[in-house]
Amino acid sequence: MTNPDTDIAKLEDDFQKKVDAEIRIEPKDWMPEGYRKTLIRQMSQHAHSEIVGMLPEGNWLTRAPSLKRKAVLMAKIQDEGGHGLYLYSATETLGISRDEMYEQLHSGKAKYSSIFNYPTLNWADIGAIGWLVDGAAITNQIALCRCSYGPYARAMVKICKEESFHQRQGYEIMMTMARGTKEQREMAQDALNRWWWPSLMMFGPHDKNSNHSNQNMAWKIKRSSNDELRQRFIDATVPQAEYLGLTIPDDKLAWNEETQSYDWGEIDWDEFKNVVAGNGLCNRERLQARKDAHEGGKWVRDAALAYAQKKRKREALKTAAA
């Protein structure tokens, strides 16, 4: 008889050795339950964010100000849907179905990125989302391309390419607005004012307040800390804002020669918690829109299923007769 506790300890030890040696973990490999759970939580949240993230941008799809902008935005939103699809599939490799994930989203058990609880109020918001929100997402996701879990890492490599395209397109809208009429400049500044801080919040709590960080770093699910990534994003983005001639809404923002990076103010964590807790302007609308689409589409999915079954039966009869 072997002792199951020592078995588990040995498995965990081997697992960690593999991770330390930068060997990718694949779906059929043994993994600690905590690793699996953490990945399901993080990856499904990421998938949900792609899907919910389609809504604030979709809000301007019918009002895009030129046919070209409309087409570009439609393609962008379609990309995000593709990311969602890709991430749901990658998450399914961990033993959870897409339906279960939807259920968790709709019941509030699973989260999505809180940034999408903010409203898109003018056209420049579409620029700001591409520039800042996709920009912050890329910063996070480039780090995730080296995640220890194979399917997630590979999904990130594929997705990152498209996200950087989105980021450039968003910046291009901002540029056009910032170089445009007085009203357009005002829209651009207004969008930056509203999206700047929520974008910084996308990196999560400060390292000192982050619950899961250490274990996730050891498992190489996470490769850089929240604060490192946030600083990287700020350092890359501030010169871009300057180039646009727009002002970042942070009066503490200043270049620091010594650290060769920007000093900046403090995130309003009360607001962050408040929005996560359900008090953002669009929390209810976002979730309701997802539920409506899913529940409203049930008869269509049922029909597709029923038709597929009928068809299979008919084909089976045909082969039997032949």
Partner: protein, 259 residues
Amino acid sequence: MSVSVAEMTEQDQLFEYTVRLGDNCVILGQRLAEWCGKSPVLEEELALMNVGLDLLGQARMLLDYAGKVEGAGRDEDKLAFFRDAQAWRNLLLVEQPNGDFAKTMSRQLFFDCFQFLQYQKLSNSADTKLAEIATKSLKEITYHVRHSSDWVIRLGDGTEESHQRMQKAVDELWGYTPEMFDMDAVDEAMLKSGVGVDLKEIEPAWKKMVEGVLSEATLNFPELTWQVRGSKEGKHTEHLGYLLAEMQFLPRAYPDANW
């Protein structure tokens, strides 16, 4: 056009003809954009946007060309965003609201089949630009036909509920379809010069295509109990005004801006 066809130059006629083609694509593309985030299943969300993107692409080529034919300095966006309802030449069918997924698929099937047959002919147009656009678009439209046909069949031959919804959708839109084959003086002139398509000629093929899909879908081929027409003269249903109000608001509110 306020001038009568007799007074129209060949250039006016080509402009009018091209705008009609382009307007169908703008309006239907806009309707599909309304589905964003509302699709019954994620895969279908992507498929609907694929179709929408194709239509927008076609719209841009056609309106860009129309603007050049006109030679009055109107580009695709001037044409799309600065015309009121009575100046639009899209078919009544494509401006009809999305309704449920069955209605959208029914609208799509009727239009896709029409567009497929029309562009097949148009790809041999004496106007090389229109021929080029039609040829280029035909591949996309072939996919659209398959996509909408598949759904109409699935829904028609799916569950009791989907069958009922699908039949209702087909019936509700049927009266908008005869208009697709109307030939007015512009069409006749374009046909004569080898540019345009004989719409009367493609009508039987359209009926056959649609009938084939409906029968596979176990749906009844509807009876024509009513029919409406008029889009070629700028007569529309009330739905178009709201669609345009939403679509055009931003460029109209800031006419000096570039976007």
